[in-house]
C-alpha cells in the first residue's frame, strides 16, 4: 500500500491531497491532476476575487434576472437551503459587510487578486435570492459570495470523484477543511488533529474518522483572516444578523459531519451562534461532534452531552 500526497496553492489557501492506494505514482499523479483541475475550474467559476468568474458576472447583474450555469444553479440552491436551515446564521449575502469590515482581498496573496468593491451594497435576507429553472436574481443593491460554503461544497465534489479510482483511503484538505474516508497506510482509520486556537503548533484534540463512511471536518473562528481597519480590529467571521464581525466568546468551532458542505456551514454557524444551536444540530444528527475552543480551553460536545 502506498501513500501519496500533493500540496497545492489554490482558493487563497493551501490544498493538501492525500491518497492511499496499491497503484503506482503515475496513477496517483493522474488522480491529483484531475482533482487540481477541478479545483481550478471551481475557483475560476466562483471566486469573488476574479473579474471573469461567473459569480462576479452575476453580481454585476444584480437586480436583473440572470441566466446561470447548472453548476451555479446547484450552488445557489445549496446556499439558499443552508441559509434557511441555519435560520440565517449562514447567509451568502454578507459580502458587503465583509468588505466593510476590512476583508477585501484574497488571503494570503492580495497582490494576485482583484478587489471588486461591493461596500456600497447591503446585506439582505436569503428570501431575496430568487432561483428559477436556469436563472437567478438578487436585489440590485446586494452581492453574493460563496466563501462560506464553497470549500465544503467542492470537497464533496472532489470526494465523489475518487469513488471509482481504486483508492483504499484519502484525506483532502482545502485550507483546513477536511474530508476523508477509508484507511491510512497501516490500515488504521484516519486521525485528524484539531489545531489549538492559541498555539497553532499544537493540537487540542484528535478526531478518529470512521473508515467505512465519509467524514468531513471543518473549523471556523476568529483567529485567522483578521486585521485592523481605521484603528479597530476586525475578523472575517461576519454575523449576518448584525452585519458586523461576530461578537462571540468562541475562538474556534470544529464540527464533524457527514459531508463537506455540512461541515463548512455548521462550523461557521456554531462559531457565530454558539453552543445552543450546536446542541440542536447534534440532536438532529446534522453534526456528529463539535469541539468549541474558548479562552478557557477546549470542550467537546457530542450527542447526549
Amino acid at each position: 500500500m502506498n501513500c501519496y500526497q500533493r500540496e497545492h496553492k489554490a482558493l487563497g489557501s493551501t490544498v493538501l491531497l492525500t491518497i492511499v492506494t496499491t497503484e503506482n505514482a503515475a496513477h496517483a499523479a493522474s488522480i491529483f491532476d484531475l482533482l487540481i483541475e477541478r479545483i481550478a475550474a471551481f475557483e475560476h467559476q466562483f471566486s469573488r476575487f476574479r473579474e471573469d468568474s461567473e459569480l462576479t458576472a452575476f453580481n454585476r447583474r444584480a437586480g436583473k434576472r440572470t441566466a446561470v450555469t447548472p453548476a451555479m444553479h446547484q450552488l445557489l440552491t445549496a446556499a439558499k437551503t443552508y441559509a434557511e436551515r441555519t435560520h440565517g446564521l449562514y447567509n451568502p449575502f454578507i459580502l458587503p459587510a465583509l468588505q466593510r469590515a476590512g476583508y477585501r482581498s484574497s488571503w494570503p496573496s492580495p497582490q494576485d487578486t482583484t478587489t471588486i468593491d461591493y461596500t456600497e451594497r447591503h446585506v439582505v435576507r436569503i428570501d431575496a435570492l430568487q432561483i428559477g429553472d436556469s436563472w437567478a436574481r438578487i436585489p440590485a443593491d446586494s452581492a453574493l459570495d460563496f466563501g462560506g460554503i464553497g470549500k465544503g461544497y467542492l470537497l464533496d465534489e472532489l470526494a465523489d470523484m475518487l469513488a471509482d479510482k481504486n483508492i483504499a483511503g484519502y484525506w483532502l484538505s482545502l485550507g483546513g477543511d477536511i474530508v476523508c474516508a477509508g484507511q491510512d497506510m497501516d490500515g488504521q482509520p484516519w486521525k485528524i488533529g484539531v489545531q489549538d486556537a492559541s498555539d497553532p503548533g499544537r493540537t487540542v484534540h484528535t478526531i478518529v474518522a470512521a473508515s467505512n463512511t465519509r467524514t468531513a471536518i471543518a473549523t471556523s473562528g476568529v483567529t485567522k483572516r483578521k486585521g485592523e481597519q481605521w484603528g479597530r480590529p476586525w475578523h472575517h467571521l461576519i454575523d449576518p444578523r448584525t452585519g458586523k464581525p461576530a461578537d462571540t466568546a468562541i475562538l474556534t468551532a470544529t464540527v464533524v459531519c457527514a459531508s463537506g458542505t455540512d461541515a463548512d456551514i455548521y462550523a461557521k454557524a456554531v462559531a457565530i451562534g454558539g453552543e445552543v444551536p450546536a446542541k440542536k444540530w447534534i440532536q438532529a444528527g446534522q453534526i456528529r461532534l463539535c469541539i468549541l475552543q474558548t479562552v478557557d480551553g477546549a470542550r467537546t460536545i457530542e450527542g447526549g452531552s
Partner: protein, 341 residues
C-alpha cells in the same frame, strides 16, 4: 463580417434571451429573407469568441436593427446573455433557405416546437407589415402557457393581419385562452391537423421547426396523410444543426503565404531540435558505456527510472516519515489537521 452594437438584452422568459443589435455603419446592414439565420460572435476579454448561428427574429423591413433569440443553456449562450448595451458583436450571414416562396407557397402552415418559433417571428412580422396575401396558420407547441415566447405579440399579429392565425398547444400546466386566441391542451395531433386542412393535406406548404423529435413526428404526420414531401420544409434545433456548420471566423484576413512561411519555419525548427537531442543523447551514451560494461544503458533511462516513481515503498513508513509523493523531491508527509479555513 459585419459589426453591430448591442442595444438591448432581455429575457423574454426564464431561459430565453432576446438580443437586439444595431449596425455600426450603414454598410453593415444585413439583407435577409424572413426565416433565415445568421452567425453571431463577440469579443470576450479581447479575444474573439466562436461564432454560433441563431435565427433572426426581426423583420427585414427594419434593417436598422437585428433581433436574435437564443435559449440559454450553455457557455456560449450564457456569455451572450451577459452582453450589455454598447457591447460589440460580429454578424455573418444570412444563411439558410427556410423561407416562404410567395410564388410557390400559397397556403402555409407553420409548425413550431419550443424555441422553434424564432424563424417564424420574422416571417409573421414581415407578413403583417406587408399584409402578405398568403394565409398563414401557426401551430405552436410549448410546455407552459405562461412561458410561451412572443405570446402577446402573436395575438397582436392575429388582430392586425387577417391572413394570420395562431393556435397554441400547451403540454404542461393549464391552458387558459384569453379572448380572441386559441390555446389548447395537449400536443399537435392528427385530428387537429385534419380539421385545419379539411383533410386536404396536399394543398399546404408545411414549415417545421423545433427539436429533432418534434420535427420528425410532424413530418411523419403530414407526409403520411398526403402532404407533398417537397412542400415540407424543416429546420431542426439540434447540436448538428447548421448552427455548428460555421466555425470560428478569424477576425483578420491573413495572406496564405504567411501561413506557408509559418508552417515551414515550424518544420525546420522541430527538425533542428530533434537533431540536437539525438546528438546529446549519443554523447551521453558514449560517456556512460565504460562505467557499465556489462549492462547496456539506453539514452534517457536514468531519468525515466526516477520520475514519478515512489522512491521508497517502505512498508514500515509511518506517518511521520517522508512518503512517496508524485512530485520530486519527496516532501515530508503532512498530518491531517483542521484549522480555521
Amino acid at each position: 463580417m459585419k459589426q453591430y452594437t448591442v442595444t438591448q438584452s432581455q429575457l423574454i422568459n426564464p431561459d430565453t434571451l432576446l438580443l437586439t443589435v444595431r449596425p455600426k455603419h450603414a454598410k453593415d446592414q444585413l439583407l435577409f429573407y424572413p426565416g433565415q439565420y445568421a452567425a453571431i460572435g463577440f469579443k470576450r476579454f479581447g479575444r474573439p469568441s466562436p461564432m454560433r448561428c441563431f435565427s433572426i427574429v426581426s423583420s427585414p423591413n427594419k434593417a436598422q436593427e437585428l433581433q436574435f433569440t437564443a435559449r440559454i443553456q450553455g457557455n456560449f449562450t450564457c456569455s451572450l446573455a451577459e452582453l450589455e448595451p454598447g457591447d460589440d458583436v460580429f454578424v455573418r450571414g444570412p444563411f439558410g433557405n427556410f423561407v416562404i416562396d410567395e410564388q410557390y407557397d400559397r397556403n402555409v402552415i407553420l409548425m413550431a416546437g419550443g424555441i422553434g418559433i424564432t424563424p417564424y417571428m420574422s416571417m409573421i412580422r414581415f407578413a403583417t407589415e406587408t399584409q402578405l396575401p398568403i394565409p398563414i396558420t401557426l401551430l405552436y407547441s410549448y410546455h407552459r402557457q405562461e412561458e410561451i415566447p412572443f405570446f402577446e405579440e402573436l395575438r397582436y399579429h392575429e388582430q392586425h393581419n387577417p391572413n394570420f392565425r395562431a393556435l397554441f398547444f400547451v403540454t404542461k400546466g393549464t391552458a387558459a385562452a384569453p379572448k380572441g386566441s386559441k390555446v389548447l391542451q395537449g400536443r399537435i395531433d392528427e385530428a387537429r391537423l385534419r380539421q385545419l386542412t379539411g383533410g386536404h393535406f396536399g394543398r399546404f406548404t408545411y414549415f417545421l421547426c423545433g427539436p429533432k423529435g418534434f420535427v420528425e413526428s410532424m413530418r411523419r404526420m403530414v407526409t403520411t396523410n398526403g402532404a407533398d414531401p417537397s412542400r415540407v420544409v424543416s429546420e431542426e434545433f439540434t447540436p448538428t444543426s447548421p448552427a455548428n456548420a460555421i466555425a470560428a471566423a478569424p477576425q483578420h484576413t491573413i495572406p496564405r503565404w504567411t501561413y506557408a512561411l509559418t508552417g515551414a519555419s515550424l518544420v525546420l525548427a522541430a527538425g533542428f531540435f530533434m537533431a540536437l537531442d539525438v546528438d546529446r543523447a549519443l554523447e551521453r551514451a558514449a560517456l556512460a558505456a565504460p562505467a557499465s560494461s556489462t549492462t547496456q544503458q539506453t539514452p534517457g533511462s536514468s531519468t525515466a527510472g526516477t520520475s514519478q516513481t515512489p522512491t521508497s515503498t517502505d512498508s514500515t513508513a509511518s506517518n511521520s516519515t517522508p512518503v512517496p509523493t508524485d512530485t520530486q523531491p519527496p516532501m515530508m508527509y503532512q498530518q491531517p489537521m483542521t484549522s480555521v479555513s
